[in-house]
């Protein structure tokens, strides 16, 4: 059974279309990156999956209807919606007491063990913690919940590089075990590239790209072309072209690695570069048509 399955998922706010007939399938045990520009429909899709908003179309999460069966669903689903949503008045010990009191799958010892590795004190109030520590606390709580699906919506927004790296390291080392499913949205795509197993681009309420990271690596190649080979490289129909430090970098979809290697330096592109090529290209098409 797929962890998440959607067919024709649609959501409108008045005349604005947030989700325009989304079809998607996320198998259990995957780490999916849902990437899209602001207002693309990422948050709406996550809200529908978490049963926070009604929608049209078909959607099942862990075999349940997320809007109608939200209360049962939330026993098996965790989410970090925002870095700043832990109650500022709450003490760390109270947060642990409360979650232990309401969540049947919360392992307090595990949360305590994780917190012991940080400098967070049990007696501190959330308002006294730094932003990075609040995220660590939230992560400690969420990782101690034996959930089948974890949804992370911009979990590292506003954190410095060290905290961001630590966040994903902790997630992989201490939480992900191959049977849980994780969905993450972020704008810091380079940092999650090595974390993801699957990639999905969403733009204006539609899925514009969906592939596993193996497919991604097999399919897309980036060529830093030698100046004398530029014309030959362009003849192979790159999907995007950009300049960097005087060199021309071309992005190819379904090209032969050997063929490109003769023209310059070949490597796997970054998600960010593909994102610019796919979404940026769409935006330009739209502007050109207008």
């Amino acid at each position: 059974m797929a962890c998440i399955e959607a067919r024709g998922l649609r959501k409108t706010y008045g005349s604005a279309v947030a989700l325009d007939g989304v079809d998607l399938k996320v198998e259990a045990g995957r780490i999916l990156g849902l990437i899209g520009p602001n207002g693309a429909g990422k948050s709406t899709a996550l809200k529908a999956i978490l049963g926070l908003t009604p929608y049209q179309g078909e959607l099942t999460v862990l075999g349940r209807h997320p809007w109608r069966e939200r209360d049962q669903l939330m026993r098996e689903v965790s989410f970090i919606a925002d870095v700043a949503v832990l109650p500022r008045w709450m003490r760390v010990s109270q947060a642990l007491d409360y979650v232990a009191g309401v969540h049947p799958r919360f392992d307090r010892a595990k949360a305590e063990a994780f917190l012991a590795r940080t400098t967070i004190r049990r007696t501190s109030k959330v308002r006294e913690l730094s932003k990075g520590m609040v995220v660590q606390l939230h992560l400690a709580i969420v990782m101690a919940i034996d959930a089948r699906l974890l949804v992370l919506d911009e979990p590292t927004l506003g954190l410095d590089l060290l905290y961001r790296k630590q966040f994903y390291d902790n997630l992989l080392d201490d939480y992900f075990d191959g049977s849980r499913t994780i969905i993450v949205t972020t704008h810091q795509v380079e940092e999650v590239q090595h974390v993801l197993t699957d990639l999905m681009f969403i733009d204006r309420g539609r899925i514009v790209l969906s592939c596993s990271m193996e497919d991604f690596e097999a399919r897309y190649l980036e060529l830093t072309v030698r100046p004398d080979q530029l014309a030959a490289a362009r003849a192979l129909k790159p999907i995007n072209e950009r300049q960097a430090i005087g060199r021309c970098i071309l992005l190819f979809d379904h090209a032969e690695r050997e063929q490109l290697a003769a023209l310059g330096e070949v490597r796997t592109p970054g998600i960010a570069d593909l994102f610019v090529a796919v979404i940026g290209g769409r935006t330009q098409d739209l502007r050109g048509a207008a």
Binding site: G29, D97, V102, D177, S212
Partner: protein, 313 residues
């Protein structure tokens, strides 16, 4: 990063192996309602701070009066040397009334903020990430004015009255008056009974007020207090202009006053110190109580529904 064998992104599910996820213990029993109430008490210190402050103010006043009039038990009536003939139980009545009114005011503002603040500070996203239903959440919030506040008001008022009785006794003893006379003048325990009864009755009688305030707080983006007050006021004005009547205004007015049906006729309008004038049967059989409870339940149900749909502000 751990060793590669530890994390295998994209590896086949290995639920059959004793992995971390599967090794976890069986689901532990939970008490969502109990913990939801506890978290309300953590967050809202005003539930006990406001009654204690009110009691403190009264005690300061009583002590000053005692110091001012040595040897005589103050009855709160003294001003500029002229003392009104107030009964000796008057200070106890003042304590009871002040604490019940405090509980009502705290209850109104608590209910207005209960489902509003969580959207303002976006913590609703945290609460909703846990398996606590909207119904449990709203029920726990309604529990505060219905049960917790009257108990707090009763306990604080009873303690304050006890302190006043003790000070009065000490003062009486110092001036050579008879202690027994004081105890006959002040029927302390029957007053406690009346206090407990009144606190419970008022909390239930106000059910539609609590429900309405919870609903408005869940619905309004800003100025919840104005939204709570303006529509009833508008209905009163429209009714007055259109029909020249004030049925709705009387409805609201009778709801905001203590329920007359809860006390037998002779007590009405005077201070109740005698358990005999309490009329629980009359209260429980009065249609106003049940209509009010139905309205309160309706408002609370609407608040549950609104909380499901509402986004953070």
């Amino acid at each position: 990063m751990s060793s590669p064998s530890d994390i295998v992104p994209g590896a086949a599910p290995r639920a059959d192996l004793p992995g971390r996820a599967t090794a976890s213990v069986a689901p532990t029993p939970t008490r969502p309602f109990f913990w939801s109430v506890r978290r309300e008490l953590w967050e809202n210190g005003s539930i006990w701070i406001a009654p204690l402050s009110a009691a403190g103010v009264i005690l300061v006043g009583f002590l000053l009066a005692l110091a001012n009039l040595p040897g005589r038990v103050p009855s709160f009536g003294g001003r500029g040397g002229v003392r009104h003939a107030l009964p000796p139980e008057a200070p106890y009545g003042i304590v009871a009334v002040v604490l019940l009114v405090t509980a009502i005011i705290v209850g109104v503002f608590y209910c207005l903020g209960a489902l509003n603040a969580e959207r303002r500070d976006r913590t609703i996203l945290f609460w909703k990430s846990l398996p606590v239903s909207d119904l449990t959440t709203v029920a726990a919030k309604a529990f505060i004015p219905l049960v917790v506040l009257p108990i707090v008001a009763f306990v604080v008022a009873a303690l304050t009255q006890g302190v006043i009785l003790g000070l009065s006794a000490a003062s009486a003893a110092a001036s050579g008056s008879k202690l027994a006379a004081l105890m006959t003048d002040v029927p302390f325990f029957s007053m406690l009974g009346v206090l407990a009864y009144t606190a419970a009755v008022v909390a239930i009688w106000y059910a539609p007020v609590w429900g309405w305030c919870l609903l408005v707080g869940a619905w309004a983006r800003r100025v919840a207090f104005l939204w709570a007050v303006a529509p009833p006021l508008a209905i009163c004005v429209i009714e007055r202009i259109a029909f020249g009547s004030s049925f709705f205004a009387h409805l609201i007015g009778s709801r905001l006053n203590p329920p007359l049906a809860a006390f037998s006729a002779p007590a009405q309008g005077r201070m109740v110190i005698d358990l005999g004038v309490l009329d629980p049967v009359g209260f429980l059989t009065s249609p106003g109580l049940w209509l009010g409870l139905a309205a309160g339940a309706g408002f609370a149900a609407a608040a549950v529904w609104v909380r499901r749909y509402r986004d953070p502000i």
